[in-house]
């Protein structure tokens, strides 16, 4: 599958200090590849370099070294900008414009006719759920409404690739759910979604692949399922209708048994041997299966572990 977005050894140093400027490495040789048509999560704690990376992709800042390309062309190419959408972190627009006017204004920058821009604005305001506030000046908008408008403006040109910086920030649980389904809708339309987040549950719910960044460095990248399955630690089985005798017989084969209720138990099993044989014995003894799940390290645990190890061994000054 071709890459919708690719960076090679992308590095950014900022100069700190007034008189004696010291370089500060915000991003260190980042190489990632985002396959077309996927939802790709770009994760890391605050200050990890996520926003810097996204700004490099949008050419809001220029790299110290390395290169990046989107849709097969170098970043900054005007033709590419026609085919991508970008939501900045905490988006902010013009106080005295209404949502409708803003989208029409941006539409004219894409070269749309007035009628076309209006039609697109109407559809998107509806899609992001702020159609009722379309004629309200933006200075009266809440943070969540600005976030929704930010998403609408990023989708104005039906982009093939969208880059969202913290798309869930400022949204209530309902808003987060809306954005999640919007992202999945974009993916179903064939759009590649590259989004940054420090909220791991969002990434778990959405991403096929992730890259994890800590202190400006890439610490892990790959398929989320691979990353987590690799770290499966065992199985959690819930059974119902189990007799005391059965529970006693199973005890040596489990790590732990927790009684949930009458005849209902939660069994904590090791990864090996596979749980099929034990399941057969359980059903043969007249009990039945309620649930069987792998016990995996959550992304949260993985995240903390990776970030901690990167923090230990890194020196940020160049």
């Amino acid at each position: 599958m071709s890459a919708a977005l690719r960076t090679e050894e992308l590095t950014k140093d900022y100069a700190l200090g007034f008189w004696r400027k010291r370089p500060y490495r915000a991003l260190d040789a980042l190489s990632i590849s985002v396959p077309a048509g996927e939802v790709f999560g770009f994760l890391g704690p605050n200050g990890a370099g996520k926003t810097t990376t996204l700004k490099l992709l949008m050419q809001l800042v220029y790299p110290t070294s390395g290169r990046a390309e989107m849709l097969g062309r170098p970043v900054g190419d005007l033709a590419v900008k026609h085919r991508i959408g970008y939501l900045p972190e905490h988006p902010y627009f013009y106080d005295y414009l209404t949502a409708e006017e803003l989208l029409r204004y941006f539409g004219s920058l894409f070269g749309f006719s007035a009628a076309e821009a209006r039609a697109r604005a109407d559809r998107l305001l509806d899609e992001v759920g702020i159609a009722g506030e379309r004629r309200l000046q933006l200075r009266k908008y809440s943070k969540g409404m600005l976030q929704r408008l930010g998403i609408a403006q990023a989708l104005l040109n039906d982009p093939e690739l969208v880059i969202f910086d913290e798309p869930m920030s400022g949204l209530d649980p309902l808003g987060r759910r809306d954005v999640r389904s919007l992202i999945l809708g974009l993916r179903d339309r064939g759009c590649t979604v590259f989004f940054s987040s420090h909220v791991l549950s969002d990434a778990e719910a959405l991403c096929n692949q992730v890259a994890i960044l800590a202190r400006g460095r890439l610490v892990a990248t790959g398929r989320l399922t691979d990353m987590l399955a690799f770290r499966a630690r065992g199985w959690e089985m819930v059974v119902a209708g189990a007799s005391d005798a059965l529970v006693a017989a199973l005890t040596p084969r489990t790590r732990r048994i927790v009684r949930i209720g009458e005849g209902r138990y939660q069994l904590d099993l090791p990864l090996e041997p596979p749980p099929e044989r034990l399941l057969a014995d359980v059903t043969a003894a007249g009990a039945h299966l309620v649930a069987l799940n792998p016990i995996r390290e959550t992304l949260e645990d993985f995240f903390i572990e990776q970030v901690a190890s990167a923090t230990d061994g890194s020196h940020r000054a160049v």
Binding site: P91, Y96, F106, L109, F110, G111, A154
Partner: protein, 268 residues
């Protein structure tokens, strides 16, 4: 071109909604109040004072708009981060600058246009009932079309000051940009004095510096023909043409430098 135009119209719309044109109300009140008070003076003198006052007010109000809106054009976008979504659109950075500049010039045109109409309205009022024989004795007729020459050069000067403000705002903070722009505007009014320094300075180095500054700093004094117009002295089309050409070249130079600075800037 279309993108630049869209950006310009947006600047104009924002300025109007940001109540920038409210200064026109002040101008109208000033003109009406002044004409009432000055009406007590000898006919002919009052017309001259109103012309003086009207042109000076246009210059000053225009200067405040050019500087305060001019420095906000870019720095506000950067500070509020609205530039992030804007530059993600198919727009080059220089187009953004030129669009912003054109939008503010458009605001100035509308502003000065309305003030011109108001000034002529007050002059019509003052001329009411004055016999043509009396008016002939004045330095210049009340509804002197030559006033438009002075107003035109006020506009040209403001367009140049806007370009100065824009340049500073591409790399400096709003407060420093305002200070630099005001400073340069004031120095620019007296730049011809720098040329005359050569005659009073002994040190050749100081003479060179004075001459260098004279050539580099904008010569804004040439745009001020208010006094000559009010007193009915002629101003040739050639003079207007040269001043316009000077301003056009200076503005083009400032816009190119602004674009170069802006296109290399990191928006952290």
């Amino acid at each position: 071109m279309k993108a630049t135009g869209a950006i310009a119209i947006n600047v104009f719309r924002e300025s109007v909604r940001d109540k920038v044109l409210y200064n026109l109300v002040f101008f109208a009140i000033l003109m009406m109040g002044a004409s009432y008070l000055i009406g007590q003076l000898t006919a002919g003198q009052d017309v001259k004072i109103i012309k003086d006052l009207g042109l000076a007010a246009m210059s000053i109000f225009g200067l405040f708009i050019a500087v305060f809106i001019g420095i906000g054009l870019v720095s506000k976008e950067v500070e509020r981060r609205s530039i992030y979504s804007l530059l993600a659109k198919p727009v080059r950075r220089w187009q953004l600058l030129v669009g912003k500049y054109a939008g503010l010039v458009l605001t100035l045109v509308v502003n000065i246009g309305v003030m011109t109409v108001a000034l002529y309205a007050v002059l019509v009022y003052l001329r009411w009932g004055v016999s043509p024989a009396v008016e002939k004795a004045w330095d210049a007729p009340a509804l002197d079309p030559a006033l438009l020459k002075a107003i035109y050069l006020i506009f040209v000067e403001l367009a140049l000051v806007t370009a100065i403000a824009l340049l500073f705002s591409t790399f400096s903070t709003p407060i420093l940009s305002a200070a630099f722009t005001f400073g340069l505007t004031i120095v620019g009014q007296y730049s011809t004095d720098l040329r005359n320094f050569q005659d009073v300075l002994d040190s050749p180095v100081a003479q060179q510096i004075a001459r260098g500054l004279y050539w580099v700093l904008p010569n804004l004094g040439q745009f001020d023909i208010k006094l000559r117009i009010v007193h009915g002295l002629p101003v040739s089309a050639g003079y207007l043409g040269t001043a316009t050409l000077y301003a056009a070249l200076y503005i083009a130079f400032l816009l190119v430098v602004s674009a170069l600075v802006f296109s290399r800037r990191d928006f952290k």
